[in-house]
Amino acid sequence: MSVVGRPIARVEGRLKVTGAARYTADLPQDDGKDLVHAVAVCAAVAKGRITSIDARQARAAGGVLELITHHNAPRLRPVPAQEVLGPAHETLLVLQDDRVHYSGQPVAVVVADTLENATHAASLVRVEYAEERPVATLFEGIDDAFDSPRYAPPTTIGDVDRGLADAAVVIDRTYTTPAQHHHPMETMATTVRWTADEVTVHVSTQTISMVRDGLATTFGLRPEQVRVVSEFLGGGFGGKAAWCWPSVVTAMAARLTGRQVRLVTTRRQMFAATGQRPHSVQRVRLGARRDGVLTAIAQDCVGETSAFYDTPPFYIGAATPVPYGCPNIRTTQRFVKVNCQTPVPMRSPVEGVGLVSVESAMDELAAELGVDPLELRRRNYAERDPNSGLPWSSNGLLECYERGARRFGWPERNPEPRSMRDGRYLVGWGMATAIRHAGSDPTSALVRLGADGRAVVQIGSQDLGTGTFTIMTQVAADALGVPVEMMRAELGDTDLPTGGGSFGSHTAASVAAAARLAGEALRAKVIRIAVADEGSPLSGASPDDVLVDDGYLFVRGDRSRGERYAQILRRNRLQSATGDHTPPPREGATVARWAFGADFTEVKVDPELGTVRVTRHVKAIEAGRIINPRTARSQVIGGVVMGIGQALTEATEVDRRDARITNAGFWGYHVPVNADVPDIEAIFVERDDPHIPGSVKGLGEIATIGTAPAILNAVFHATGKRVRDLPITPDKLL
């Protein structure tokens, strides 16, 4: 019986809940006496030059082995942007010169025998700066905003100006979204051992292959000399997708000391160890006919990027042309250099930020026209992808609208703002559309089968905590034809066949495709061996006539003529096979592959205090076929919780005078807590997609896209007040 599509429990769940799972900061366990600890000293100013570093006291402190500054750090080779895999990477080669570009940039690293000694010595390092005036926020530098025809070319479809001129109604609004940080539970941990010609790196990363290639390039090694391991991850949300300085400075420390060195960033350092979701300003113009049919969509975004990085990180409006069938669309983006870390993706850098404004503007348009917001979206359903002009590979959006709305009770909504009440609270219902590009990465898998009938599937990708181990086990077990208990998954080691990054909602699709190919290849291989093996009851059968069920191979039509994998393997030693998934090229595509969703939410607002509570949330998603409804549901819950934070509580605040982050800790950066999270319901609208292997579109990002704008729209419906500046804190509603 097939196990794909069944809600089996996480295969590594027991290890995690019993504490037996070893996360990177727990590793290595075996070799404690050689291990020493590194602590980074981070810049206290956001812009300037280091004029002196007084390290005498620190060097003299107990247990100190090494102190690295730009004076004695190993020289690093620059990494050409195009050489590095992944969506973002650290181009600032840390500890190479005296320049400071953002507050929190590492300026020294102390290595000592214990973490306590290293922490203490780090506090003794005295750094003097020649401070310069930083650009603290996007607004400050907005006059110098620049565009990037190469990385963020404008999109133009039809004639927007005419579309706006022809419109009966035009909505022209500007929205701002704040910088945010990812804040996985697990901070960044790295342990590096550097021997004569080999480097072994344990690191919490979403892309072991990118860390390997990045370190190899910067330190002048061949990739084969670098082994990167990341078995269990405590989340990342994109923050660990970038190749960032903690692993670079730990490698430096290991090389200089000849010891195995561990560096674990503090929560405070997580505000600069990797970049942020960039602060943005988004102007949206929608033109529509009286009946709500769109005649124009224009979106002009400005986003922050770092002062030291010339390749703008990403294009917020890239997906704006996709959700609605509109003949005239234009999106542009400009960038402002700010003295902050380089922005990196955060759980959908494009749709998760750029559609907040579009989905709010759609709600404003609905209110203006007096059309139901859901009906407005239905009327603008895109029969093909407006951006590429291609037909959809599959599209369940209308069914998401319908099932989500029914489950939520949307038809009961009184369209009038401030019309629904629950005692002292104003009640608001809002909705939004979600879309996310469905892609995958080149990925190889190896499946091995032993004489005990047990199998292993290996991929050099990693499990972010989302359930990759589990779905990979399910797919490989089905492909080989063994019970799921007989299959074990291995991930997170560059010695395994090469996999991609755990980002971009690509992991499930990539890993499932490769695991399936490898499992099927091994099944075919063993069948060929069996039919050629005179000792087998299958001897002489045609390979096409051999079926496999629960680890038992038999001839079609005669179940008694067969034997188990274990029996074949005992005579024919260990067998393995590989599978290589190659994603369809984006160039020359004949279909547009996207996942779809619809969010419906209820908020209750205290009209006198402006406090908002999300009290109900329904999210319908079409992401092709769901491999495991249990892990999928938990992805959706996490995504909605993150959307609640985006809408109501989360923002990284910067002091305008000195460009330093003023709420760098969980005491000041508020993620939602249990009491902020209502019942969340996930509905999966399933579709077979002939253009996507296994019909797996990926869930990681569609899970959160749509949630924040739905909440914004619900708050408007509750209060009649439109907040266009995220997050909606109570003072903005008074």
Binding site: L609, G610, E653, T662, N663, H670, A675, D676, P730, D731
Partner: protein, 288 residues
Amino acid sequence: MDFIRATTWVDALAAKAAQPGAVPIQGGTDVMVEINFDVRRPPALLDLTPVAELAEWSERDGVLRIGAGVTYARLIAELGDRLPGLAQASRTVGSSQIRNRGTVGGNLGAASPAGDAHPPLLAGDAVIEAESAARGVRMIPAAEFYLGVKRNALAPDELIRAVHVRPAAGPQYFAKVGTRNAMVIAVCSVAVALHPGERRVGTGVGSAAPTPLRAAEAEEYLAAELDWDSGLPAPVAARFGELVSAAASPIDDVRGTAAYRRHALAVLARRTLTWAWNDYRKAAERCA
């Protein structure tokens, strides 16, 4: 850093006298945060958790004496019926882990303007029992205890022994606004306590000035205006809210603006008074 473990109250006082720079630690939910963030590095920690009598409470002559080491969790469970205002405030503190460790004594020791215990202690006329080896016991009314941002009236050699407070003589309420629904420091908070015998309403305001404070004018206004034998006129409740708000001197910070705080204080004050008054009238009507 030295770690001093006092096993008896006498030892604790002696240790504090011998080393006034030693920082007492009870639940540690403030002390350890400050040490971890390197806000301060005290020469010594004085661990009070082994001192058994600090974790006890008793009642004598109609006054509760609550040891400085009684946790929020126990306060809610064991004294919630007699000190409803303090119990309500305690329920909003942090998470269950924090409530299992954190104490009112620690809240007083830290004397943060945002500490949630302070408004109900002020509204309920609590008195803090401080003690030193050299000078013995000193009774400090809550209203005189808070001197500045995170500064209290303790002398360097003094420790907090207990809080004295009368069981509620009438309805009490506490309300706070936070930027999320739990695990949050108050943007502002208000406590009211009705003292029907004295025809008086006690107040406490948190997170809206350098120290927690009583809204004296608001209290005087109610003492003059309230008719304890009838309903609460809406204009009186509203005026009370304005006066509570006027007593504060809030600032803009990452948690909220001064203007928002002023507004919210008025709302919270009006609401808590209305709830308390409604309870009081209901009880009075039942008795009649």
